[in-house]
Subunit: 92 residues, 2 copies
């Protein structure tokens, strides 16, 4: 399910125009991105938490050529599902 | 930043009532949860993808008592950040 399909689904469920849904979804994503950029964890009730983690730099060795490359440190977003979501996924 | 703070932030940015924002956020989460339950991957433009992965069952051995416990298989939600988000996080 991509962005557009999600917008259609929300729009038809709430009887709100697709434009309004899109505007709100975009705002949500941009706020989340800004918060994550500042290293702030975001919690979505009964869904999960997003937090930024730093992956340390590491030395990668090419198996065939033995050439070593330094992979620089980078920030990645980590998602941890809530217990509510975990239970919903795993219930029969 | 928790659920309530996020709702306030969206509400003030778009000048929509908190109730409307909350209703839409809840709908978004419930649609996402339903999709993930059916194993469908969800893509958020310029943010990332959510997909369900199965963690296989495994045998855990307690280090002190040596008692073995079978951890049953479970489904977990995996988030993979998009390249856009990655670039935003890592730009200086």
């Amino acid at each position: 399910m991509n962005h557009k399909e999600l917008i259609s689904a929300i729009s038809s469920k709430l009887s709100i125009s697709k434009n309004e849904v899109e505007q709100m979804l975009d705002t949500t994503i941009s706020i989340c991105t800004d918060q994550l950029k500042e290293g702030i964890t975001i919690g979505f009730q009964s869904f999960g938490n997003f937090e930024v983690r730093k992956k340390e730099e590491r030395l990668s060795v090419h198996p065939a050529t033995q050439i070593r490359t330094l992979i620089p440190p980078k920030l990645v977003v980590n998602f941890k599902q809530s217990n509510v979501l975990k239970d919903k996924l795993n219930e029969i």
